[in-house]
């Protein structure tokens, strides 16, 4: 995928929802896992929203469509999507967001604007931290890399 930093730059959206859904379904077939209606619709909601959503926000949307009203429904669907890499969990926010580039195997990192709440996904690069982990013998299975701050649009402008 091109390395555009999806997040703080506008982009056409209707197309990417459709293609992301199709891609996810293809991946599921390839992996022999099931993209059931609840899971599919959950992913679609996340893609449409294109923002970090709490599990209960997702649940409310599912409920409105008769797809389930109890927390485990949302948590199970989100858990599946996270396992498959279609959705990421943002620990800092206790929230979830659709993956911005599910094609690549990756190791996501996030930038969270504390003012407008926008979350941008970037690629985490193995830094000194990962090296030092290896040195101490710690075997990393998964990383959480999140930065909180101000996105370009929310930074105070210099006075003229």
């Amino acid at each position: 995928m091109s390395s555009d930093p999806i997040g703080f730059t506008a982009h056409d959206h209707t197309h990417c929802v459709k293609s992301a859904l199709a891609a996810a379904q293809a991946v599921c077939i390839q992996r022999g896992v099931q993209m059931t209606p609840v899971r599919l619709r959950t992913l679609e909601i996340m893609l449409e929203e294109h923002a970090a959503m709490g599990a209960y926000d997702v649940l409310a949307r599912l409920n409105a469509e008769g797809l389930g009203s109890k927390p485990p429904v949302a948590y199970r669907a989100l858990g599946f999507l996270v396992d498959q890499g279609f959705v990421h969990r943002i620990e800092r926010l206790n929230a979830f967001i659709a993956c911005a580039h599910p094609e690549d195997a990756h190791n996501p990192a996030f930038m969270i604007c504390r003012s407008c709440g926008t979350v941008a996904e970037a690629q985490a690069q193995s830094g000194t931290f990962v090296q030092s982990a290896a040195q101490t013998g710690f075997q990393i299975e998964q990383t959480v890399i999140e930065a909180e701050g101000l996105c370009p649009s929310c930074q105070p402008q210099v006075q003229p």
Copy 2:
């Protein structure tokens, strides 16, 4: 309580609790903030425990000593200690841990063992992620860097 691991290596412990408390008190005076009894005892508990603790675990300890029994007491004390940098929050665990080296200004990173729950603190280094954030114009105020995996003691041993 002398064989707790800091990181994944054992070390003497009683001394560092005392010195960390003294150092924290000195810092508070220097900064003009108050190290009150609840805050001090909370820090001491965190230092003694030397492990990630939930806010309610801390609260239970405080309560046992008559220092407060309601959640806000613990959350306020922990909030203060986090603000002052004496304690860090582990987002992945919704938990807190005493800072392993409060002397240095820092930008902590953590290694969390999913098997035994031990948490080791390391130094986060600005990697490619931080650079790319700067490029996109995102102004980082704070980072969350956490790795989950297996600590040396919990890794499966090679079969003989």
